[in-house]
């Protein structure tokens, strides 16, 4: 029997894997996709809890999060391309202009 707990545990696993990817990878594109993975796992929690309580608000929130993450994808890819053109590498260590 699949309970709400199965969905929450799966979403927590996906979130933590995305967190590890965002904090330990060097390639800017992989970091960007890892953050998208974290967004996806949060969406899964919204939908599972909305389904559990029988309310559609979770689905509406997921819809808005998708719109925001699509905007983020457009801007993020533009920034990544500009960054790679300027620094000739995808390693985010090259972004050290504001490093103290």
């Amino acid at each position: 029997m699949i309970t709400i707990g199965h969905y929450l545990v799966l979403a927590s696993f996906l979130f933590v894997v995305g967190l590890i990817g965002a904090l330990t990878r060097k390639s800017a594109i992989i970091v960007f996709l890892a953050i998208e993975l974290m967004l996806n796992s949060v969406n899964l929690v919204f939908l599972a809890l909305g389904r559990y309580f029988g309310q559609l608000d979770g689905a509406v929130f997921v819809f808005f999060i998708m719109a925001v993450s699509a905007a983020e994808a457009a801007i993020g890819v533009a920034i990544t391309v500009a960054f790679i053109r300027r620094n000739k590498t995808t390693a985010i260590d090259a972004a050290n202009l504001m490093k103290w």
Binding site: G18, S27, I29, I75
Partner: protein, 164 residues
């Protein structure tokens, strides 16, 4: 029973895809792992009784975002690299992740976990969803359109500027 089998198969596929994204050295295979994960999460949306959001998930993520990421990697040349930040940062990351998981499960164990209640057919239908979007969530809906317009303009501006 069939539902449980499908759930565990899809959940396993999503988890393997996520691990591929984070730990595979080759960026193209990593992005393909992410595509597998997003498609599996879309199937989970369908199983949660919101099928059109599952379709959106597959179109937006597995379609648009993955294609853009693959395009950037192909256009700029794939560089192989695994997880390779400093040791201190890696240890701190894993410690923080473990603490976060433990904290989540402490909350989860204390709360009541029931099976999913039955919902009527109208739940998650596109009529109910559209009704919510144009009545209760009308203002956020318009703001989302402004956000997308701003993102589009911003992307064009960023890509037209000359970087030395």
């Amino acid at each position: 029973m069939t539902f449980a089998v499908v759930f565990f198969a899809v959940a396993f596929l999503a988890f393997i895809g996520a691990l591929t994204l984070v730990f595979h050295r080759h960026p193209v295979i990593a992005v393909l792992g992410m595509a597998a994960a997003t498609v599996s999460i879309g199937v989970l949306y369908v199983m949660l009784h919101v099928p059109f959001l599952g379709l959106f998930q597959m179109i937006v993520y597995a379609g648009a975002v993955m294609v853009i990421a693959l395009y950037v990697i192909m256009a700029l040349g794939p560089e192989e690299s695994g997880p390779q930040v400093g040791t201190v940062q890696t240890v701190l990351t894993y410690a923080a992740s473990l603490l976060f998981l433990l904290q989540l499960y402490r909350v989860l164990i204390k709360s009541e976990i029931g099976p999913m209640p039955a919902v009527d057919e109208a739940f998650g239908s596109i009529q109910a969803f559209g009704g919510a979007l144009v009545s209760r969530y009308a203002v956020p809906f318009e703001l989302a359109s402004l956000l997308l317009l701003g993102a589009m303009v911003g992307a064009v501006v960023l890509s037209r500027r000359q970087w030395q």
